[in-house]
């Protein structure tokens, strides 16, 4: 326990983000805790609306304008949540970068791509103008944009979706961050480009010794790219562990459901929506286990008592009253 704490770059503790809509509290992120170690790739999976994007935004202080964010986010021993926006400027984009989910809307349509890369360099490095330009070209080249030097003066609408995603990656990597928060960097793209971008991210991470939190819908992607995985359901983490352990023998029925919905004969990258039923509304969560209405193993205790995320083995945790039976089918 001690050693893993020392190694970890980012420690998220009881992160809770609440929005208020029409006077009702809506808990998009509900007390999640996890660590990210230097250089590792952590997968964050869950259905649409489970709070993945809001978790990432909360970490770098982008969610608090819209709701309240509580808990602790330790970055190199310092709690980012206590810092003001101004104090966060030297962390954002330089030590921790984020790639947004939507490549089509995340670049400013009125500014050239070159400017949008260079402004990051201007904020975080001492490079002069020509050096910034050279670095911008180098970055576009690294992320695989052909004719990089001639494209600096182009505007986002002159790039395809995949190319915009690459531009966003180039911007995020501009100042060599130690941690990259990648919010579904590939879902908006078609399959071949998805593969390219993932491979690109992985090789860059290896070369720069950069850790990644990779948000995805897709357990196939997790299996291919991540070291550890955290499964999110209705704003809470329901299972965490090494990818090998979790995929081999999940300890939560929801993870099992996700896993079963990836057919073996079909290549990965198939979206997994086939767990029957829908997630509960965030402003009307059941008293007990939030997964109970969809769970095939539900018992009386599940309805009255909410199971906490607790360690049940060597670095594997589950938020289920019956973790040992949950994954029997896969391991059998």
């Amino acid at each position: 326990m001690m050693t893993s704490q020392n190694k970890s770059l980012l420690q998220v503790r009881d992160l809770t983000t609440t929005f208020y809509r029409n006077g009702r509290a809506l808990r998009a992120v509900d007390g999640i805790s996890f660590d990210v170690h230097a250089g590792e790739v952590l997968g964050l999976v869950g259905e649409s609306g489970s709070g993945k994007s809001i978790s990432l935004r909360s970490i770098i202080g982008l969610a608090r304008d819209y709701g309240t964010v509580e808990g602790n986010v330790y970055w190199k021993g310092e709690d980012l949540l206590t810092r003001t926006d101004k104090q966060l400027q030297c962390v954002r984009g330089s030590q921790i970068s984020m790639i947004f989910q939507e490549p089509m809307t995340s670049l400013n349509p009125l500014l050239t791509v070159g400017l949008q890369i260079e402004e990051n360099l201007k904020a975080h490095t001492d490079l002069d103008r020509p050096a910034r330009k050279a670095r911008a070209i180098e970055l576009l080249d690294t992320v695989g944009i052909p004719g990089a030097s001639s494209r600096l003066r182009d505007f986002p609408h002159q790039f395809s979706g995949g190319m915009r995603q690459r531009v966003m990656i180039a911007i995020a990597l501009a100042s060599c961050p130690e941690l990259l928060l990648a919010d579904e960097p590939t879902t908006a793209l078609d399959v071949t480009i998805q593969d390219q971008i993932l491979q690109l991210l992985l090789s860059l991470a290896k070369n720069l010794n950069m850790a990644i939190v990779l948000v995805t819908h897709d357990l196939g992607v997790v299996a291919q790219t991540c070291d550890r995985v955290a499964v999110m359901y209705a704003g809470r983490l329901v299972e965490t562990g090494s990818v090998r352990d979790v995929l081999k023998r999940p300890r939560h029925p929801y993870t099992l459901g996700l896993l079963k919905s990836v057919p073996e004969s079909v290549p990965p990258r198939t979206p997994l929506y086939s767990v029957p039923g829908t997630p509960p509304a965030l402003d009307a969560l059941p008293k007990g286990c939030a997964f109970a209405p969809r769970c095939h193993m539900v018992e009386d205790i599940c309805l009255g008592n909410r199971p906490p995320l607790s360690e049940i083995g060597e670095q594997i945790s589950s938020a289920c009253h019956f973790p040992e039976v949950a994954g029997e089918e896969v391991s059998a």
Partner: protein
């Protein structure tokens, strides 16, 4: 370049508008009961003078020919003689254009100066006390008739306190700024309310946009984010609205010039209407149409300059 072809295509689009305006102006006089020549001439005109007008307007020929004469005369700068001022319509109008142009531009600048910063302050304090105060203030401005505001300003600031001139139009640029401040302010109160409302919601919307959140995640300073990523994007819709409200601005000018005795086109128009000075009414209508079209064109240019998606598609 593509910017040039954009300009040309926009200029081409103005032509149909003009034709339509010409038709309306042409019919205006023809629809009056009786002889158009009498409408176009002084009441004391002799039969010989009337005959001259008939010939010039081609009144003895078919309607289509009359229209062509009308277009030809107008294009060659001959819009007839003002009954009221006994001078060529073109001359009378040319003399007054700078006054109204100055007043309108002045009002627009004032409203941008008033509304721009306040809209930003309101948006950044969304639903806070400051926001509510600003919005309420402008709401009152918006719901009060222009002439009423004008009269209030005139009574208090000009007549009672003697801070500003009661009317007229100065000779030098600075004098004009001084003379026209109350009328410009009167017009600006209305337009600034429109700008404020639109710009405030545009800023609020842009602040939430993914690209602004992404810019924040890059660790940019607040001033760079507001100045580079928010301002320009929020301005686009406001520029459009400002262009579209030029009609309202012009009618505001009409009333304001009258209240403040400013010798501009608006006051001329009212005088022309009261005197049934048809040649002058025709000329002024056409002038207003030209001005509105130019403003639309200018708005489009500004938008294309702001938004590369318009410029480069």
């Amino acid at each position: 370049m593509s910017s040039l072809s954009y300009l040309v295509s926009r200029l081409m689009q103005i032509i149909p508008t003009f034709l339509l305006v010409m038709v309306v102006i042409f019919l205006l006089v023809r629809m009056l009961p009786g002889d158009p020549a009498i409408a176009m001439a002084d009441a004391k005109a002799t039969e010989a003078q009337l005959e001259l007008i008939r010939q010039k307007l081609g009144l003895n020929e078919p309607l289509v020919m009359q229209f062509l004469y009308f277009v030809k005369n107008t294009l060659s700068g001959d819009m007839g003689t003002s009954i009221l001022l006994k001078a060529p319509v073109l001359e009378v109008i040319a003399e007054r254009i700078p006054v109204t142009a100055f007043l309108t531009l002045y009002a627009v600048c004032l409203s941008i100066l008033i509304a721009g910063p306040l809209a930003f302050v309101a948006a950044l304090n969304k639903n806070g006390g400051l926001d509510i105060a600003i919005r309420t203030g402008f709401q009152i401005g918006l719901s009060t008739p222009v002439f009423y505001i004008g009269l209030l300003l005139l009574t208090f600031l000009a007549a009672s306190l003697g801070l500003f001139p009661v009317g007229g139009y100065g000779a030098t640029f600075l004098q004009r700024l001084h003379h026209l401040i109350l009328p410009a302010l009167t017009v600006a109160l209305y337009t600034s309310a429109i700008i404020m409302r639109n710009l405030r919601s545009a800023v609020i919307e842009v602040l939430d946009a993914d690209y602004v959140q992404f810019a924040r995640s890059k660790g940019l300073s607040r001033s760079v984010i507001l100045g580079r990523h928010v301002l320009r994007n929020a301005m686009i819709s406001t520029v459009t609205l400002l262009g579209l409200s030029i009609g309202a601005l012009m009618s505001g000018t009409l009333v304001t010039e009258t209240v403040f005795a400013v010798p501009g086109l608006g006051r001329l128009m009212l005088e022309a209407i009261f005197a049934r000075d048809y040649p002058l009414i025709q000329g002024l209508t056409l002038t207003f149409a030209v001005m509105v079209s130019l403003v639309f064109l200018f708005t489009d240019m500004v938008q294309a300059w702001l938004d590369p998606r318009l410029r480069l598609s």
